[in-house]
């Protein structure tokens, strides 16, 4: 594997709060890519739940957060198609690797490959990412 699972987030004591946008600018289904200190981060509103991922695909370093967010065919025990994770799967715009925005894990190798995720907080009507 040339990709590794989500590294540990920076220790709480060293993280800085970075403004992403007012809540009103990030409705469900919206996203915003922002600078957060030395990181570029994609912040997504998944049906009211905010998720933030490093904007670097672990595969070929593509700007993964610019890719489409949609559902996918769920990993299946049988030879059958089961659509699911609607609105939760980020697909890299370069090579199509899929990642769950819930936890950053890749669909093809969730144990070993995923996106680096950041914590998101909402305070005083603003969305912040901790990085």
């Amino acid at each position: 594997m040339n990709a590794t699972l989500t590294p540990a987030a920076p220790a709480a004591s060293t993280r800085t709060k970075h403004l992403v946008a007012p809540v009103a600018e990030l409705p469900p289904g919206a996203r915003k890519i922002v600078k957060a200190g030395r990181f570029e981060v994609g912040v997504f509103n998944l049906k009211g739940e905010y998720k933030a991922a490093l904007n670097i695909c672990p595969h070929a370093l593509a700007p993964v957060c610019a890719g489409p967010v949609r559902g996918t065919m769920l990993p299946a025990e049988k030879v059958e198609y089961n659509w699911g994770m609607d609105g939760e799967v980020l697909s890299c715009p370069w090579h199509g690797w899929e990642f769950s925005l819930k936890d950053g894990r890749s669909l093809h190798d969730p144990k070993r490959c995923g996106l680096k995720m950041f914590e998101v907080v909402v305070e005083d009507g603003n969305v912040y990412v901790l990085a």
């Binding site: 996918t72 065919m73 049988k78």
Partner: protein
């Protein structure tokens, strides 16, 4: 020639009894020998010589070794004792998987005729060959035009103690993973018979062109291109979910070459990471599935300029577990056991020469 085959001490009593298994021995039995077992109207068809044609490509060496023609004018490979004298005895081969045969009838337009010829062949072999030498086992030949008929034939003879595999032509009308072939896979799984793919009929009669680019001009090109058919079948088998649907099924790629496997797996794994959602039942890297469920016979083992390059290749996949020695006797491109494994790491010669086959075929 003598065969200094194996030096290492056997690990088990069973392994000590079987030191070399040859997984591709072509006894020269064809339509002529099968006629008496054919019902009408197929007997009449056989008597008229009705058979899939060949491409007409020229091999100046001849497909069957000329040095095996004996004083009676017959090729040793056409006689049970001839195979013993010219292959099994001199090379210390303990078990020969007799592959035949008539699998090329899978390219005949008539599915009933093809199935009948395979049945006749299997009956003939069970009656006239298997009893002749305790070293003989056979891969029953089945035709692929109608997988339900193939499954019936497996049910008919698949439990015979001398039968340890089913064998089909790699020249088919469709990529092999597709669902019209699934009844055949179900039967192989039920009767615990690994399914062997064997080349030779690529491009003939109703099969597809022998290469994806079309019909090559010469036998040399045709023969080199056989690996391409195997690659297409392997990708199809994996992606159609055959190994999930039939968890007991094992596939043996006979005479399809070896060296192409690692880069094909790399390519398939890479593409799968991006296109996984089109085959969601593939929940781990295709290369993992292949290395657990697919086996390859060695002949014609590639001959790179340096033996060490073959060793490097074997580091790129689970060669120790996947490879099965085969001679392809009596064909012009055959490998003897000592020749086949001369470039192999010492550490897994025993597995390739015997143990993998003993486990796979339940010998």
């Amino acid at each position: 020639m003598t065969a200094p085959v194996l030096e290492a001490q056997p690990k088990t009593e069973k392994a000590s009894a079987i030191r070399v298994v040859d997984c591709d021995v072509h006894q020269l039995v064809g339509l002529a020998q099968c006629r008496e077992y054919l019902p009408q109207p197929f007997k009449r068809m056989a008597e008229s010589g009705c058979a899939p044609g060949h491409l007409g490509l020229h091999n100046p060496i001849g497909v069957v070794r000329s040095d095996l023609v004996e004083s009676d004018g017959k090729n040793a490979a056409s006689k049970p004792d001839g195979i013993g004298r010219t292959l099994l005895d001199p090379y210390g081969i303990d078990i020969a998987l007799l592959t035949g045969g008539v699998y090329g009838f899978s390219t005949h337009p008539d599915p009933d005729y093809a199935a009948a010829v395979c049945s006749a062949y299997n009956s003939y072999m069970i009656e006239h060959w298997l009893p002749k030498d305790p070293r003989f086992r056979m891969a029953i030949n089945v035709a692929t035009q109608d997988a339900a008929l193939a499954a019936e034939e497996i049910a008919r003879v698949g439990s015979h103690p001398g039968v340890c595999a089913a064998l089909i032509s790699s020249a088919t009308q469709h990529p092999l993973g597709q669902r019209m072939y699934h009844p055949l896979f179900a039967a192989c799984e039920k009767y615990d018979l690994p399914l062997c793919l064997h080349p030779g009929s690529e491009g003939t009669c109703i099969s597809n062109p022998p290469t994806a680019a079309g019909y090559p001009t010469r036998y040399l090109e045709w023969h080199t291109g056989i690996s391409c058919t195997f690659q297409a079948h392997l990708v199809s088998l994996v992606c159609e979910g055959v190994f999930q649907k039939f968890p007991g099924l094992k596939i043996v790629l006979v005479e399809g070459g070896v060296s192409w496997l690692p880069p094909l797996m790399w390519r398939l794994d890479k593409n799968w990471k991006a296109l996984r959602s089109t085959v969601p039942w593939i929940t781990r890297a295709p290369s993992e599935i292949i290395q657990e469920r697919v086996f390859m016979t060695t002949q014609p083992i590639e001959e790179p300029p340096e033996h060490r390059q073959l060793k490097q290749l074997f580091e790129m996949f689970d060669a120790e577990k996947m490879l099965l020695f085969s001679s392809d006797y009596p064909h012009w491109d055959g490998d003897t056991p000592d020749f086949a494994v001369r470039g192999f790491p010492e550490s897994f010669k025993r597995r390739v020469l015997a143990e993998n086959a003993v486990e796979l075929f339940g010998l």
